[in-house]
C-alpha cells in the first residue's frame, strides 16, 4: 500500500502526443507513488497504450515532461529526445507487451539475461544466477533451457515478465498483458502480477481485466480521448464513477462481456 508522505516515483506533467494531426494524448499529468499499482482503463484509441509507450520512449512524446526515479526528460515541441536520455529512462522502466515479444532464437534463460549481459555488462555466471532467480519467481525455472516456441502463451508472458524484472526497474509497465492469451491461460499471468503487487512492485497496468483492477489496483485511472477523466480507488471508479463517460464505458464494457 502506498504511503501518503512518500515522494512519487513517476511524475508526468502535461504530456502530449500527436501522430501527425491525431492528438492522442492531450496534456496528461499524474504521479505514481512507490509500491503503488495503477490500472489504466479506457476504450481502444483512448491513448492508454500510447501513454505507457511514451513513458519508456518507445513512442517519442511530442511535449511535456516525465520523471522516473532519478531521471527526468523534458520534451520541447519539435525537438527529438536525446538518445542517451531515452536509454536512461528506459532503464528505469520495464515493459511487458501484449504479444510477449520474446526473442525466439534464445532460450528462456537467455531471454531473461540478455539485458544483464549486453546492457549491464554482468559476467555470464552472475547474470545466469540472477536470471534463474527471476525465472523461479515466475515459476518457470524448469523451462530455463527451452525456446519460446515450446512454451504456452501464459508461460511466454511469464518469461517476458521475468525478463523485465531481471533489469530491476523502478516501475513495471504492462500493456494489455493478457489480451493475446487463451482464456484458460490468463489466470497464471494475473497470479504472477498479483504476487508482484503484494511484494511491493510499482506497476502501471493497461488492462481490460476488471476483476484484476478491483482486486489489485490501488488506483484506477480512466482515460478518454487522451485525457484523464477520472481517477481514484477501484471501488469508487468501478462501482460508482462520478463522470458520465466512465459510467457509459463501464456499462457497455460489462454488457459486451455478458457478466
Amino acid at each position: 500500500m502506498p504511503t501518503n508522505d512518500s515522494k512519487p516515483i513517476v511524475q508526468v506533467e502535461n504530456l502530449h502526443k500527436w501522430f501527425d494531426l491525431l492528438h492522442v494524448l492531450r496534456g496528461v499529468s499524474f504521479t505514481v507513488d512507490p509500491q503503488e499499482v495503477l490500472v489504466l482503463i479506457g476504450r481502444s484509441g483512448s491513448g492508454k497504450s500510447t501513454l505507457l509507450r511514451c513513458l519508456n520512449m518507445l513512442e517519442e512524446p511530442s511535449a511535456g515532461s516525465i520523471t522516473i526515479g532519478p531521471v527526468s526528460v523534458r520534451v520541447e515541441p519539435g525537438k527529438h529526445v536525446d538518445r542517451r536520455q531515452a536509454t536512461a529512462i528506459r532503464l528505469q522502466t520495464g515493459m511487458v507487451f501484449q504479444e510477449f515479444n520474446l526473442f525466439p532464437h534464445m532460450t528462456a534463460l537467455q531471454n531473461v539475461i540478455e539485458g544483464l549481459v549486453t546492457v549491464k555488462k554482468l559476467p555470464r555466471e552472475e547474470a545466469a544466477a540472477i536470471g534463474e532467480k527471476y525465472l523461479d519467481k515466475v515459476g518457470l525455472l524448469p523451462k530455463r533451457d527451452v525456446h519460446p516456441v515450446r512454451l504456452s502463451g501464459g508461460q511466454k508472458q511469464r518469461v517476458a515478465i521475468a525478463r523485465s524484472l531481471a533489469m530491476e526497474p523502478k516501475v513495471l509497465l504492462f500493456d494489455e498483458p493478457t489480451s493475446a492469451l487463451d482464456p484458460e491461460l490468463i489466470g497464471e499471468v494475473l497470479d504472477v502480477m498479483r504476487r508482484l503487487a503484494l511484494e511491493g512492485t510499482t506497476m502501471m497496468v493497461v488492462t481490460h481485466e476488471m476483476s484484476f483492477a478491483s482486486d489489485v489496483a490501488d488506483r484506477v485511472l480512466y482515460l478518454d480521448h487522451g485525457v484523464i477523466v477520472e481517477q481514484g480507488p477501484p471501488t469508487q471508479i468501478l462501482k460508482s464513477p462520478q463522470d458520465e463517460r466512465t459510467a457509459v464505458f463501464l456499462r457497455s464494457f460489462l454488457e459486451s462481456r455478458g457478466d
Binding site: 519508456n56 520512449m57 518507445l58 536509454t87 528506459r90 532503464l91 522502466t93 520495464g94 515493459m95 507487451f97 504479444e99 515479444n101 520474446l102 526473442f103 525466439p104 532464437h105 534464445m106 540478455e114 539485458g115 549486453t118 546492457v119 525456446h147 516456441v149 515450446r150 517476458a160 525478463r163 523485465s164 533489469m167 484458460e184
Partner: protein
C-alpha cells in the same frame, strides 16, 4: 492446463478404431513411396533421353572422360573464387542494407546509388572495367608520381574476378538483407529497446540472428548463381573449370564434349551446394521446432 495426456498419439488402449488408423497410415505411406518412385523414374528417363540424343549426335564421351582430370583441377579455383566472393559480397550486402534502412540521408544515398548502378550494368562489363579499366587510371596516378595508388588499382586476374563478383552480388544481396531485416517484427526491436539495449546490440544479438535464418535460402541461391557466374572470369585467363574446358575444346575441336563436361561439373557442384544450404537451414531452425 496440461493437454499432453489427452493428445498423446497412438493411444491403443482407449481407441476402439485403432486398427482402422493403422490401415489408413499404411495406405498413406504406400502412396508417398509410390510417388517418390515415379518421380525418380521421370528423372532417370530424362537423363537417359539426354544421353541417347548426345550419343546419336556423334559425341565422344570417352574423350570427355579421358580429359576430365584436367578440367576437374579447376574445381578448386572455381570454389575458391566463389567462396571468397560470397564472403565479401555478404559484408557489402549487410552494409548496403544498413545504409538503405538508415535514417542518414548520406548512408541511404550511397547505398541506393550502389545498388542501382551495379544492378543496372552487366557483370561482364564490370569485370572488364576492373581488370582492364582500373589499371588505365592507375597509370595516370603513376605518371603523376603516385606509384603506390597506381599499383593498388592494377589488380591481377584473380583479384579482379573476386572484386567484380563481390561488388556485383553485394548489390543484389543488399535487397535480400534489407528484406530479411525488415521481416523481423517490430516487437522484437521494441522489446530489446525496453530492456535498454542500444542499436548495435539490437542489430547484432536480436535482429541479425533471426534475419539470417530467414534469408539463408536466398543466400544459398545467390551462392549457386555465383558459382556459375564465376565462369565469366575465364575471360581473364584464370584456370578454372570453364577456361580449362575451353582450352581443350579448341585444341581438339571437341566443343560438345568439353562444355558438356564443364556443365556437368557445375551442375554437380550446385547440387552439393543446395544440400549444404538445406542442412544449414535445418540447423538454424532448431530453436523454432516444437
Amino acid at each position: 492446463m496440461d493437454l499432453s495426456n489427452v493428445m498423446q498419439p497412438g493411444d491403443r488402449a482407449s481407441d476402439p478404431d485403432w486398427e482402422m488408423g493403422l490401415r489408413l497410415l499404411a495406405v498413406q505411406r504406400r502412396r508417398r513411396l509410390a510417388f517418390a518412385v515415379r518421380l525418380a523414374a521421370v528423372w532417370l528417363a530424362l537423363v537417359a533421353a539426354l544421353a541417347f540424343v548426345l550419343l546419336q549426335l556423334n559425341v565422344d564421351p570417352l574423350y570427355a572422360v579421358d580429359h576430365s582430370a584436367f578440367v576437374l583441377q579447376g574445381v578448386l579455383t572455381t570454389i575458391g573464387v566463389s567462396m571468397a566472393s560470397i564472403s565479401v559480397a555478404t559484408v557489402l550486402a549487410l552494409l548496403g542494407a544498413l545504409g538503405k534502412l538508415s535514417r542518414s540521408s548520406i548512408a541511404q544515398g550511397i547505398a541506393g546509388f550502389y545498388v542501382s548502378l551495379i544492378r543496372g550494368t552487366p557483370l561482364l562489363i564490370q569485370i572488364y572495367l576492373i581488370y582492364l579499366g582500373l589499371p588505365q587510371i592507375g597509370q595516370q596516378f603513376a605518371n603523376r608520381g603516385m606509384p603506390g595508388i597506381g599499383g593498388m588499382l592494377t589488380l591481377n586476374a584473380i583479384q579482379s574476378g573476386i572484386l567484380a563478383l563481390s561488388v556485383n552480388y553485394g548489390a543484389y544481396m543488399t535487397e535480400i538483407f534489407r528484406a530479411g531485416i525488415q521481416s523481423i517484427g517490430h516487437g522484437q526491436r521494441e522489446a530489446a529497446k525496453s530492456i535498454g539495449m542500444g542499436e548495435w546490440h539490437i542489430l547484432r544479438r536480436v535482429i541479425l540472428p533471426q534475419a539470417v535464418r530467414v534469408i539463408i535460402p536466398d543466400i544459398g541461391n545467390q551462392f549457386i548463381a555465383m558459382q556459375k557466374d564465376s565462369s565469366l572470369v575465364s575471360i581473364m585467363g584464370i584456370w578454372e573449370i570453364t577456361y580449362r574446358a575451353n582450352r581443350l575444346a579448341r585444341k581438339d575441336i571437341k566443343f560438345m564434349e568439353m562444355f558438356l563436361l564443364a556443365a556437368a561439373i557445375y551442375w554437380f557442384m550446385t547440387i552439393v551446394s543446395s544440400w549444404a544450404e538445406g542442412w544449414l537451414e535445418r540447423r538454424l531452425s532448431h530453436a523454432y521446432e516444437r
